[in-house]
Amino acid sequence: MPEKLKMPSQDMHTEAWWIRVLDDELTPDEEARWGAHLLECVSCRQELAALTRVDVFLSQASVPPALPADFTDRTVQMIARRQRWRRMLSFLAGSLVVAAASLLVASVADSMFSSFEQGVGVMYSAREMLFHSFVQTMLALLVRWRTILPYMVGTALVAYALVMPNGLLMTFAIVWLSSRRRARGMA
């Protein structure tokens, strides 16, 4: 046997070596050394045969069956349902955020202004600014998510109805603030 084909066989019993063998990554020189080693090492010969058998065994597995003909339709319908549900959720979440933000603004206004009339006055004067912000937000959302246009328009309209000074939420906020004032005054 040529001298250079003799090498410590421990190297060839490592996982790294075996991975290179199985991936056909050995250089011609290493191939020669490996061949020589196989002639001498029974356990490596057995292991190589066993690993080769695994490849053959797995290749015998049958081809997976075809999907049913209506699978695409069912899946697309499910996707549409899920998307509708998501839009509804985002619509509800958006409305909740708007409502929470409005209550927060009302509370801050209540603590910031010394008189109730002054607070309400400031809220009224912010009407135009709020309207512009909503229109701009709506336009931005419209450009970004064209596909959920009706929901965005709906959210904006509901938010407008809730937050504007003559809207439901604002009416509620004003009534709530005035009742708090009254209670504080009585105390």
Binding site: I19, A50, V54, D55, F57, L67, F71, T75, V76
Partner: protein
Amino acid sequence: MKGLSVRMSVSQDGQEAMEADFLRLAQKGDAASITKLVETYQQRVFNVCYRMLGEATEAEDATQEALVKAVTNLHSYDIERPFKPWIMRIASNGCIDRIRRRKDALSLDGMGEDGAWEWQAGNSPSPEREYLRNERQAAVRAVLDDLSPADRMVVTLFYWEGMPYTEIEEVTGLTVSAIKSRLFRARRTMAELLVQEETYA
């Protein structure tokens, strides 16, 4: 040969560009593109799920779940990256979860009760051959069942999907060296199981 490879590369590029186009449209919610996306990937995703779960009915559910999840989360998909590893990752993770969930309940005795391994549309030449095929599938399934879900995924993607290590890396999130190591250990485990089975037989 060179001409052929150039043609193939041009055609592949064209296909990728076309795919990117309908993915972009699907991201915007275009119904026709979503349908095309589902049609393009459903069988490939099903093949992986079937190999991992070994049951046609459950694999079908897992495939549907993966496709729905992928389409409803398309906004988070980077259009510059290949789509196949992305959807395969969703599908594989779903299958791993299912395997973990059923691990305790699953037993080899129940295998094939719903016709999972037996069901092969229009492909049953004779009862003897059918029996032998089922036996072989049961043996493959038994060997795969002994692997961890992650190892099973690596074996599935490598052997049956023919994915290169780099693509498996994208699907699994493991490094190439970790994939090689897992694959080798899985091969060793399977080799030992085959030897045991032969001895037992």
